[in-house]
Each structure stands twice: as structure tokens, then as C-alpha cells.
């Protein structure tokens, strides 16, 4: 088990190192990065001065080494607008994003797993077909549009909830629901198909032959087997969830990393963008790491290797 943890830690470090490299090179995709850091109508001499100031006139490998050395120490430079430390600015926004992302993750699992189990158990009944139809529709709904529709219904028409902003639980409801919609559809669909597979397994027949009641087979025996692939899917979908959070935060003016990133992109504040993109990759890698450990915990076949 310890070997496994060490090996996975190593992998995380490598991926993060490469992710930093990717961030460095993406910024240089357009050729001259200086233009990215200034408004399009900046005068020529300001451009030259800026290029010197940021070190873009030096050879690429020198820039790369410097970027990496600083980045490893958490130094992505300062925001071009507010002069604050770029990484710190993004870190300050983490709690809000986590609040949103994990509320919707919990919400979607809570909704999706029971629906998926019931659909599998009542395969080909109206319940199942309604569930399948809902999940197909859910996967075709872009989150930003769903967000707009929810705002229109609950904030504009019914006036039950605020249109956006952050700070309270009331503000969290609509964005969390919006973000959860896609995951609910995916998780429910996946739970259904995995559960169908599990229910066909020999060991479920053994449990039935031992006289275990159906509800217990569904909620204890088959569920644990089903959870293992679901954990993997959740880990894979965290990226989708974090990406979706960017859009949902903008729609609902939720004060998280995504909204900051979007504003920085529009303002061409690239130190903040780089810090934000890296931090998201970092969070994603750490969560994946935790999920892998969790996975090993649930699955004894891995735990004892």
C-alpha cells in the first residue's frame, strides 16, 4: 500500500511539472506573448519597454528556466491590474469554488445513485424510460443556458431567489443546481448500466440463494460493487465539474476562481490566468490522487496488492 502511495505521488509530481510546462508554452502559442499583456492599441515603445520588463526578449530556454524556478516557489508574478500576488489572488477564491463544486457533486450523487439503482432494478418500466429520457436530455443541456433559464424562472418570474452574487446559502442554490444537472444525468446513466451488469453477476445469485431480501441486495451488496466504477467516473468528471464551474460562476456572478479567471482572460491579465490554470490542474491532480486512495480502500483486490 505504501509503495502505491509513493508511486502515485511521483506520478502527480511529474504531471504537475509537465502541466507547468504546458502553461508556459500555451501562453507562447501566439508567437509574441507581449501583446497578450497589453491592450491592443498600446504604443510601440510601451510594447518594447514591457517586453524588456517581462524578459520576453531573452532566449526561450532562459525564460522557461526562470518561469519554472519561480513557479515552483509559487511565484507567478503580480496581477497587471491590481499589482497583487497572482497566485494569492486565485487562492483567495478557492473556498467559494469548492463550496459550489462540492455542493453540486454531493447533490448530484445524492440524486443520481438512487435513480440509477431504481432504473436498473425496474428495467424497461415507465420509471426506467423516464429516467433514461431525462438523462439524455440532461446531457444535451448546456449549463450556461440552464442557468439562464433557472434565473428567469426563479429569480425574474417567481422572485424566490437572487439572480446572482455570493455570500449566502440562498445564493448557492441556483448555481449548485445548474452545475449538478449534467453530472446527475451522467452519474444516473452510469449507475444504471453498472448496476445492470452487477445484478447479472453470479455472486448476486448466491446472495439471493442465501435468502437476502431484494432491498438489501440493492442497497448493500450490489451497491458496493457498483460504487467502485462510480468513484472512477466521479474522478474523471471532476475536471468537467471544475470546468463547468467556470461557466456557472460567470452566469451567476459567483465569486470563485472561475469568474476571476474569466475576468483576467478578458482583461488580458495573464499572470493571474497562468496561476489560475495551474492551480486548477493542481487541485484536479490532488483530488484524483485522493480518489485513487479511496478507490484502493473500497476495492480489496487493489488494497492487498
Amino acid at each position: 500500500m505504501l509503495d502505491y502511495v509513493i508511486k502515485r505521488t511521483g506520478q502527480v509530481v511529474v504531471v504537475l511539472f509537465l502541466a507547468l510546462t504546458a502553461v508556459f508554452f500555451i501562453i507562447r502559442l501566439s508567437g509574441d506573448p507581449t501583446a497578450l499583456f497589453l491592450p491592443p492599441d498600446a504604443p510601440r515603445e510601451q510594447l518594447e519597454q514591457f517586453r524588456k520588463q517581462l524578459g520576453f526578449d531573452r532566449p526561450l530556454h532562459v525564460q522557461y528556466t526562470e518561469f519554472m524556478t519561480k513557479a515552483v516557489q509559487g511565484d507567478f508574478g503580480t496581477s497587471l491590474r491590481t499589482r497583487e500576488d497572482a497566485l494569492q489572488m486565485v487562492i483567495n477564491r478557492i473556498p467559494a469554488t469548492f463550496q459550489l463544486a462540492f455542493t453540486s457533486l454531493g447533490l448530484s450523487l445524492l440524486i443520481a445513485i438512487p435513480i440509477g439503482i431504481q432504473s436498473a432494478y425496474r428495467r424497461n418500466t415507465w420509471f426506467d424510460q423516464a429516467g433514461v429520457a431525462a438523462t439524455v436530455l440532461g446531457q444535451a443541456l448546456p449549463s450556461f443556458w440552464l442557468g439562464l433559464i433557472l434565473i428567469y424562472l426563479f429569480a425574474v418570474q417567481l422572485q424566490w431567489l437572487p439572480t446572482g452574487g455570493g455570500g449566502s446559502l440562498v445564493h448557492l442554490i441556483l448555481p449548485a443546481l445548474t452545475l449538478a444537472a449534467y453530472s446527475v444525468a451522467r452519474f444516473a446513466r452510469f449507475t444504471r448500466s453498472t448496476m445492470l451488469d452487477v445484478l447479472r453477476k453470479d455472486y448476486i445469485r448466491t446472495a439471493k440463494a442465501s435468502g437476502v431480501p431484494t432491498y438489501k441486495i440493492l442497497s448493500v451488496y450490489a451497491l458496493k460493487n457498483t460504487l467502485i466504477p462510480i468513484i472512477t467516473l466521479v474522478a474523471l468528471d471532476l475536471g468537467v465539474l471544475l470546468g463547468g464551474a467556470v461557466i456557472v460562476e460567470v452566469v451567476f456572478s459567483w465569486p470563485g476562481m472561475g469568474r476571476l479567471l474569466m475576468q483576467s482572460l478578458l482583461n488580458r491579465d495573464f499572470p493571474v490566468v497562468m496561476a489560475g490554470v495551474f492551480l486548477i490542474a493542481f487541485i484536479y491532480a490532488v483530488i484524483n490522487f485522493v480518489v485513487d486512495l479511496l478507490y484502493a480502500y473500497v476495492n480489496p483486490q487493489i488494497r492487498f496488492k
Binding site: R123, N124, K201, D202, Y203, I204, R205, T206, A207, K208, A209, S210, G211, V212, P213, T214, Y221, K224, N225, I228, V298, N299, P300, Q301, F304
Partner: protein
């Protein structure tokens, strides 16, 4: 056997599968009786309906697809053919148990042996946690598992195939069932382990005084274990007799073919004779005897009329060859369609 009471009595059982291509008559009028304390072998090639018969008895048919559409099943004098799931559940793992073919896949990989074995005891008895544990250890020891106390907390993948089948047996025996159905219990095991497991089942059966329905395609196992034999072909019983009679005096051409194709360790002189052709899929069966297309003694009549089960002095047999010998047909031809 006449003076003992039947534990399991299956009469004219018909189990059908509904599939996209129509109805498959997997079991088509099977009669089967198991008396208390005896071992009955249910023999046939794969696809002949023997497993479906046992699943029908246990009430474990895959639900919307398969259903019992005719006949009755009596267990210990009680009609259980269409017993509600709730009451059926009280029988399963308690008064009747089942062992399956694949020990490797029949135990849930994510629960410990103990967690899985505790289940029937929790369902059918009111033992405390500690009593359950004691009972499980005792049971595991009785099937010859060393370190039973530790194995309880281990996962199935940590055990060998033979060990797992022992666990399956002890799982089935926990509540001292009256009937044990064993569906090819040794097929998936190594030959040396097979012998051990069979020996174990024999001992346990004697100790517990229970009846056993042993489903197998292996006539060697039958000779070793069974008191009586029922041979199935194409969803029907084709011959049924005492084990000695089957080996000494098989009457049905299919039974004769099965015996001829069995390698004999003692006398290696004769060549093995295979039965030409293969088991028809249940949906391909036309009129006439189901075995006729592969039968070396088939007559014109066999292709048009389905033979009834004929009572002979020492056995019953479903074949036109003997229709003249005995006039008391056990059933009407009409059943068979």
C-alpha cells in the same frame, strides 16, 4: 424409496424464456422427485434445461425474461410453484440451498467471507453477533478449512478455487437445509480438488441427513455420488432409473450414447463413441422426438410423433422403441407440444 416421503416433487414443469425472437421452451414438461436423504443426479449436455429446472425450483429465474408457465413444484409437501418472493426468500438458504458451478465468481469480491456467510444466519435465525461468528467458524472447520477464524475476515480473492467452493458449501449448509441443489459443483475445479470436494459433500450429506439434487454432465460423478439418475435432453426427461440400472442397462439411445462416450479408466480397450450432432437449441425443436435427428435407431415414427415417458420394469424411458413393451404411458403425448 417408496416408504420415504418426497422432499421435492416436480410435476410437468414448463419454464419458458421470452426473447426477441420468440418463446424458448427451456424446460418442457419435466417430472422429478427427490426423496428425503437421497441423492439424485440430473444429467445432460449443456443446454438441456437442467440448470433452468433447478433455478425454477429455487425461484431464481431471471425475472421478466423467464417464467414458469405450467406444472407444479412441491417442496416438503408444500406447493411453492408461485410462492410470493417474500415467502420464497424464507426457504432459500434455509430449507433449501444451492451451490453453483463457478466458485471464482460466486462470492462477492468486495465483502469478506464472514460478511457474506453471516447473511443467511441473520435472515433465518435470531442468533447474536457472537453466536453467528461461532457458528460460521464451526461450519468452516467442518468443511475442512484450516484457520477458519482468520479466513472469516479475508476476501474471496485471497482463497484458492477449492477453498472457495468449500466456503460455498459451508454457506449453503449453515442453516441445515433439507435439500441441497448442487449445479456442477466441481466442473470448474482441478481434478484432484474435485475428488476432495465430492468426498466432502458425500460426508456432509450423510451427517446432515439431507437430500441432494446433483446437476452434472459428468457420469463419473454420478456413479460416485448418486442413488438415482434422471437424464434430460431438449428440456425433457428421457430416462430415469436407479444409478445401477442406468449403468448396467441403459434403455434410451441417448443414455446409451452418453455412456459410450464416457472414457473408462479400468478397461481402455474400446474406442470412445461420440454422439453425432449437438443439442438442438430449444427454439429449434420441431415435432417428433427431440433426439431423433441424432439418434442411430430413429424410425419414421420418431420424426413425427413425440414419444411419451414409458414405464418399464426398472426405469422409465421416453422412446418409441419400448412403447410396445409396456402399455402404461406415464403421460399423454399432448403434453409434449
Amino acid at each position: 424409496m417408496g416408504n420415504r416421503s418426497p422432499i421435492l416433487e416436480v410435476r410437468q414443469l414448463q419454464t419458458h424464456f421470452r426473447s426477441g425472437h420468440g418463446v424458448v421452451k427451456a424446460v418442457n414438461g419435466v417430472d422429478l422427485t427427490v426423496y428425503a436423504g437421497e441423492t439424485v443426479g440430473l444429467v445432460g449436455e449443456s443446454g438441456c434445461g437442467k440448470s433452468v429446472t433447478s433455478l425454477s425450483v429455487m425461484g431464481l429465474l431471471p425475472k421478466p425474461a423467464a417464467a414458469i408457465v405450467g406444472g407444479t413444484i412441491h417442496f416438503a409437501g408444500r406447493d411453492i410453484t408461485h410462492l410470493p418472493e417474500k415467502q420464497m426468500r424464507k426457504l432459500r438458504g434455509n430449507e433449501m440451498s444451492m451451490i453453483f458451478q463457478e466458485p471464482m465468481t460466486s462470492l462477492n469480491p468486495v465483502f469478506t467471507i464472514g460478511q457474506q456467510m453471516a447473511e443467511p444466519l441473520r435472515q433465518h435465525t435470531s442468533l447474536t453477533k457472537r453466536q453467528i461468528r461461532e457458528k460460521m467458524v464451526e461450519m468452516l472447520q467442518s468443511v475442512g478449512i484450516p484457520r477458519a477464524g482468520q479466513i472469516i475476515d479475508e476476501y474471496p480473492h485471497q482463497l484458492s478455487g477449492g477453498m472457495r467452493q468449500r466456503v460455498m458449501i459451508s454457506l449453503a449448509m449453515l442453516c441445515q437445509p433439507k435439500l441441497l441443489i448442487a449445479d456442477e459443483p466441481t466442473t470448474a475445479l482441478d481434478v484432484t480438488i474435485q475428488a476432495q470436494i465430492l468426498q466432502l459433500m458425500k460426508e456432509i450429506k450423510q451427517k446432515q441427513q439431507m437430500a441432494m439434487l446433483l446437476i452434472t454432465h459428468d457420469l463419473g460423478v454420478v456413479a460416485e455420488m448418486c442413488d438415482r439418475v434422471v437424464v434430460m435432453y431438449g428440456g425433457q426427461v428421457v430416462e430415469s432409473a436407479e444409478v445401477r440400472t442406468i449403468f448396467d442397462q441403459p434403455r434410451h439411445p441417448y443414455t446409451q450414447g452418453l455412456l459410450a462416450s464416457m472414457p473408462n479408466a479400468n478397461e481402455r480397450k474400446g474406442e470412445l463413441k461420440a454422439i453425432p450432432g449437438s443439442v438442438p437449441r430449444p427454439d429449434e425443436v420441431g415435432q417428433g422426438c427431440t433426439f431423433a435427428p441424432r439418434c442411430s435407431q430413429a424410425m419414421e415414427r420418431c420424426r413425427h410423433d413425440r414419444p411419451p415417458l414409458v414405464a418399464l420394469p426398472r426405469q422409465s424411458c421416453r422412446c418409441w422403441l419400448y412403447a410396445g413393451e409396456e402399455e402404461t404411458a406415464l403421460e399423454e403425448v399432448a403434453h409434449a407440444t
